[in-house]
């Protein structure tokens, strides 16, 4: 018998990780851009929810910073807004949608700017620069308290203030899964176009793309803009789900949770292939949540004086190395693209071959 708490957690995090991984899959799996700074887009989403939306609400409701500073002020305004949402669920929905819209816009801008200094670079320099920008941004968010409260964090309103306990959890999970589904359909449609094939061609050989008159820099910028905009949604979801934004948690785990794990997911499932990403996300999240659910008993059984999270890091690190070594193409390998003209060409060839055989 599987505990329902575990199933709920798996579904919730499946949705969150699917959104980020699908966007990374477009950047890395399709476009070949080694975005080692994926975490920045999730953090941008969190900054929108915790640093920008809260300030807008504070201005609307006239809440001042005061003695406790920004962190305290956000908890005052969050309580106020949550109280309004309790009577008026529609307000919560509007606030949620407005935050997501803002996060997408800012995510797109940050994504495009983020790759700007490095769009012409070779892949190793590109990866280093993207990682460095993302790490620096995380550190600033942590050390510069006014942004999102630094070490103390900030509170955000409960957009589902009218629901309690397990109902809230279920409803939130449903919202996340719906958004994840929309994201899946979005990327499937976006990447099954000449643009998707252009990305794959860029991954295979940049010179060919240049020969055909495409500007690599523009393609990379656009791809990163879309990918970051989508991943920023997860930052918002994360904040509204936990009712807070903790720069503290991004400091140590930001890169692990939102750069490394999405890479692990797409390499596990199969890069350049959205169905593989779904499978990878499901397997990864299940393993992670099972560990999380039983961590106290794991630690007790092994008699460790430490937290299970360190074991989790080692496990996922080793898992990544094993995948890279034994199955770099992933569980569901990428299939060749068959567009209508190619299909037609195949069929014509078949007919011709059949005709030839008859003649013999």
């Amino acid at each position: 018998m599987i505990p329902t708490g575990l199933i709920q957690n798996i579904l919730l995090w499946f949705g969150m990780y699917l959104i980020v991984s699908l966007s990374l899959n477009m950047e890395y799996g399709y476009g070949g851009i080694p975005n080692f700074g994926k975490a920045i887009s999730v953090i941008v989403g969190a900054v929108v929810a915790g640093g920008i939306m809260t300030r807008i609400l504070m201005a609307i409701y006239g809440v001042k910073g005061g003695i406790g500073g920004f962190s305290t002020a956000t908890s005052v305004v969050s309580d106020k807004v949550t109280a309004i949402v309790q009577h008026n669920p529609l307000f919560g929905l509007l606030l949620f949608l407005a935050t997501i819209a803002l996060a997408i816009v800012l995510g797109c801008i940050v994504g495009a700017l983020f790759i700007l200094p490095s769009a012409r670079l070779r892949e190793d320099y590109l990866a280093i620069t993207l990682l460095a920008i993302s790490e620096t941004f995380t550190m600033i968010c942590y050390y510069d308290q006014p942004i999102i409260g630094g070490y103390y964090g900030v509170s955000v309103p409960d957009i589902l203030g009218f629901l309690q306990g397990s109902n809230r959890f279920l409803f939130f999970t449903a919202i996340i899964l719906v958004i994840a589904f929309i994201t899946y359909v979005f990327f499937e449609r976006l990447l099954n176009t000449p643009y998707g094939r252009l990305l794959k061609a860029m991954r295979e050989n940049e010179d060919v793309i240049r020969v055909y008159g495409r500007d690599i820099m523009k393609v990379r910028m656009m791809t990163m803009a879309v990918g970051s905009g989508v991943a920023a949604i997860v930052g918002v979801l994360l904040s509204y789900f936990t009712l807070s934004v903790q720069a503290n948690s991004f400091m140590i785990t930001g890169r692990t949770l939102w750069t490394f794990y999405p890479f692990l997911i797409i390499l596990l499932g199969g890069a350049g292939n959205n169905r593989g990403v779904v499978a990878g996300t499901f397997i990864f999240v299940t393993v992670m949540e099972v560990i999380d659910f039983y961590k106290s008993s794991i630690v007790a059984t092994l008699n460790l004086p430490v937290e299970a999270v360190w074991l989790e890091y080692i496990l996922f690190g080793v898992m990544m190395l094993l995948i890279l070594y034994y199955k770099p193409e992933g569980l569901i390998p990428e299939k060749p693209i068959i567009t209508a003209p190619i299909k037609k060409a195949y069929e014509t060839r078949k007919v011709v071959l059949r005709g030839l055989r008859k003649e013999e």
Binding site: D124, Y125, T129, T136, I140, F263, L267, V309, L321
Partner: protein, 311 residues
């Protein structure tokens, strides 16, 4: 004018960055992998020193040779067990970079477990620590300044002798310049790579052994320092060992002094932006001279300045 303390602090930090960047560059020259686990190699040294200090009450300076060996072992193991198998399978550079990210995560996990055990053994937390209180003065100078500078002089002295005065060094340089040709001449490139990774880990761990004198070691230390290490290697030129020497001082000094200077104008709030200086250095270098300072062809630059060659 920055005070004496700011200046010595900047020099100490630069010395440590040089050690870290040299290791990164060495590994890059021989295996063409930017090693994202370099910061974790440093942490190995920090914990070696902490263990010796807590268990035997020996000063961290005494642990330097041991940190050298421990870090070297970790560096060598990383190459032999993680990177070499992948390279033999013909892995791309991105795959290898992802592997070093995985390695970094594994080392982060091991650090957590080790710190937990050490904390239990010694009865006090080992997740965060500093050695600043163990510093003393030699002839009016902070001992950490003297020791870290000595380590640099010694390292580069030995490295120079090794590379230019011994047969092994010649083979080493040959296989860095042109691995295929060196192999034809009978040089075992494999040894070069193993040696480079050993040294990379060892130098990083020595830096890590001294780092707690300068800043607190926290679980995120490896992540905090990696940006500066890459900045130092890139500005100097990822393809040149001496580039790391120049780059380490440029990045270390500017991180400390530029933020200090900004803080005197805009207030102490600017001090948290020290990594932005390192990041800016990376970006500016990559835009202007992607080969780094050591890779600049000064003749071309002079010609350009005189207007003989059009940019």
């Amino acid at each position: 004018m920055p005070g004496m303390e700011v200046l010595t602090g900047a020099i100490i930090y630069s010395n440590l960055l040089v050690l870290l960047a040299v290791g990164l560059t060495l590994a890059y020259i021989t295996t063409a992998v930017p090693n994202f686990a370099q910061g974790s190699f440093a942490v190995v040294g920090s914990y070696t020193a902490l263990t010796i200090y807590r268990l035997f009450n020996l000063h961290p300076y005494v642990s330097l040779p041991l940190a050298f060996l421990a870090g070297g072992a970790v560096g060598l193991a990383s190459y032999v067990f993680v990177l070499r198998p992948l390279i033999r399978r013909g892995a791309t550079v991105v795959t290898l970079m992802i592997a070093t990210l995985a390695l970094d995560l594994i080392l982060l996990g091991l650090r957590g477990i080790y710190a937990g055990y050490l904390g239990k053994m010694t009865g006090s937390t080992c997740d965060m620590f500093m050695f600043a209180y163990l510093n003393y003065n030699i002839f009016g100078l902070p001992s950490i300044l003297v020791v870290s500078s000595l380590v640099i002089v010694l390292t580069f002295g030995v490295l120079f002798t090794l590379l230019y005065k011994t047969k092994f060094g010649i083979a080493l340089r040959a296989s860095m310049e042109n691995p295929a040709l060196a192999e034809i001449m009978g040089v075992n490139v494999e040894y070069t790579r193993m040696f480079a990774w050993f040294l990379s880990g060892a130098l990083a761990a020595m830096a890590g052994c001294l780092l707690p004198f300068k800043q607190e070691i926290v679980p995120a230390t490896a992540e905090i320092i990696i940006v500066s290490i890459f900045a130092a290697s890139i500005v100097g030129g990822l393809n040149n060992i001496y580039g790391a020497l120049i780059g380490g001082y440029i990045v270390g000094m500017s991180e400390s002094l530029v933020t200090y200077w900004l803080s005197t104008i805009f207030g102490t709030g600017m001090l948290v932006y020290s990594k932005v200086v390192a990041l800016t250095i990376i970006i500016v270098t990559l835009l202007i001279a992607p080969q780094g300072i050591a890779g600049i062809d000064w003749r071309v630059v002079r010609k350009k300045l005189r207007g003989e060659v059009k940019a």
